[in-house]
């Protein structure tokens, strides 16, 4: 089976390469793309004998990613690009009837409704590679969606679980980047600290599984071993467990409906000692609530949420705003967002508008 890996130098991309290494030739790489790390891209291309590569920061072809994503010789695109940039190649791949192993949260957050409709229309398939949605996807196999009472997404609670608002006032970038369970890129690690990652996943689940938001729930699970739980109408639950290793989700997406032997080490539940679950602390982690409100508002509101979040997180990483200001900036931007119809043009416009507006909000904070 041939695949394209877009975003091959990030943490998801490199985990995908490990899955390919272990596949004993079952998975072959047709093409690789990266944003700016030319040295890594060339190393990966050489290891896997890949001739088609794209370095998006250098290419003069604005459709280079779309071309890789629609390459007739591939079956699956691993979409491991972070942020809004994944949107166009994802759309192209689905229109070409490809399976998209989708690790990017933002594409579904901003236009999940459009993407799932596109997939259905063109025979494309979205398999979520987020560990939570992949967990739910696995637990739902063999069960009809009508039997679902609740889909429960779990989250570790991040490095600041249990902290009060006043304690959160002074947290540093280093503290926010020190995630207790998952090793990920900086943007997603900050999203885990604010719990915006759960907010984005909540919106994502809405579209991946086609369920209304009263059937979606988030629980905090500090051990990060249960990634998703399906609660059925009869009161039974199926929970998916694996080590906090993205290879569990990636390998399932690539092998589906089969499984890769030994993709990850199975958990030792005795050594795990205990599994605990807590309600979300909505008061001290307002990002979850902002995401839920954006989903309820609909239209381009999730796009504005996502763009404002990217902008605010970058400002935090650049030491321009404090940790608590991240949610304040998103809320402020979201409040002034225009109502617009949901189409690709409006989404791009709303994205650009929100980045600009959030920057203004950040600047006005400093003066």
């Amino acid at each position: 089976m041939k695949i394209s890996i877009l975003g091959c130098t990030g943490s998801i991309g490199e985990s995908t390469l490990e899955v390919v290494r272990k596949s004993k030739g079952f998975i072959k790489i047709a093409s690789l793309a990266a944003h700016s790390n030319a040295e890594k891209l060339s190393r990966h291309a050489s290891e896997f004998g890949v001739s088609k590569t794209v370095l998006t920061s250098q290419t003069k072809n604005p459709e280079a990613l779309e071309e890789l994503a629609t390459d007739p010789e591939i079956k699956t695109v691993v979409m491991a690009i972070v942020g809004f940039a994944a949107l166009k190649p994802t759309i192209a791949a689905l229109k070409a009837g490809k399976t998209v192993a989708l690790a990017n949260k933002e594409a579904l957050v901003t236009c999940g409704e459009l993407l799932t409709a596109l997939a259905e229309k063109h025979g494309g398939k979205i398999i979520p590679v987020d560990s939570e949605h992949n967990a739910l996807f696995q637990a739902l196999q063999g069960h009809s969606i009508e039997q679902v009472d609740k889909l429960i997404i779990t989250g570790s609670g991040g490095p600041f679980r249990g902290k009060t608002r006043s304690e959160l006032q002074s947290v540093t970038i280093a503290q926010a980047l020190n995630h207790p369970k998952w090793k990920m890129g900086p943007k997603i690690t900050i999203d885990s600290a604010t719990l915006m990652n759960k907010g984005l996943e909540y919106i994502e689940a809405r579209w991946v599984f086609g369920l209304p938001d009263d059937k979606l729930k988030i629980l905090i699970h500090p051990q990060s071993l249960v990634h998703g739980i399906v609660q059925f109408i009869d009161g039974s639950m199926l929970a998916h467990l694996s080590p906090p290793d993205m290879k569990a989700a990636i390998s399932y997406a690539l092998y589906y409906p089969q499984r890769q032997p030994g993709a990850v080490e199975p958990l030792d539940l005795v050594k795990a000692q205990k599994l605990e679950f807590f309600e979300v602390d909505y008061e001290n982690f307002p990002c979850v609530n902002l995401a839920q409100k954006a989903l309820k508002k609909g239209g381009v509101a999730p796009t504005v949420l996502n763009a404002a979040n990217e902008t605010a997180v970058q400002a935090f990483l650049d030491e321009k705003i404090s940790f608590l200001s991240i949610s304040d900036m998103i809320e402020k931007t979201l409040e002034s967002a225009p109502r617009q119809n949901l189409d690709i043009q409006s989404i791009f416009a709303a994205d650009a508008w929100a980045r600009q507006k959030c920057q203004e909000n950040i600047l006005s904070l400093r003066h």
Copy 2:
């Protein structure tokens, strides 16, 4: 859908009646059978408007249960008879192509290989109603058995979890009957205290799922909320959770592949506080190991195990032997068991032989 409930006055039978009450006419009862509780049988028959009833302790027709189990108007037989007596009507039902919602452990333990072959041959279906096997059955839907690395059966560990052998020396019947999590009949409650129930379930799983014993594992889980876990070859796991209420399994068996809305209250995982898993204490609870040995030995050895267990448990309940003597008596009986081919006649012979032999072992203990 019409069903027959054999063993309608025991705890599984009465839970089945509750499922039927809640089904709003979806499930209708064609017939009811009980062993000796005439008053309860007649009360249930009257409530559900059932004309065909059998009281096995009183009937002169030795094939009365087989007749109910093969009644052309029913789709499903709920086999809620405790012990070896369930075997003949189970065989009859499977030969008639019925679905058997099988709550009885012994039928599968003594001739699981024969029953699953019969079911396949005649288009019958066994849906396990044991909570552990039903949990695994649910978790396996949509996944091929070739993807399974381990099936993990959980057990609460019973009332004596953590006790040493010297502490177990003096336990009373009342203590053994005081199960921390499940409300069940006395025979099964004692099996839970010796952990023989897990041993029997281990053998049962061998046949229900057609997997060799190196793919079966038992874990102690004191909270009794996770009932079964499927570990796949890629390292992912799916765990089934529900309250410790047999209606979860019974309703699934009756509604399969659908589900009964509101069959049980879903768990509140936050209130549950924690889920823990421990290895089995094989040293102080030798019954698990006896069952595993009997399965390895094969042939009629599981039948001998089961019959000796029934005999020894009854002797314990009759205050004839101590708690620790239960496993001693089973072991002694098992050691002297003859090797025999596996056919129905040999099983009946081995059952009778083992009951006699175990009685002798018990008597020789007292003199």
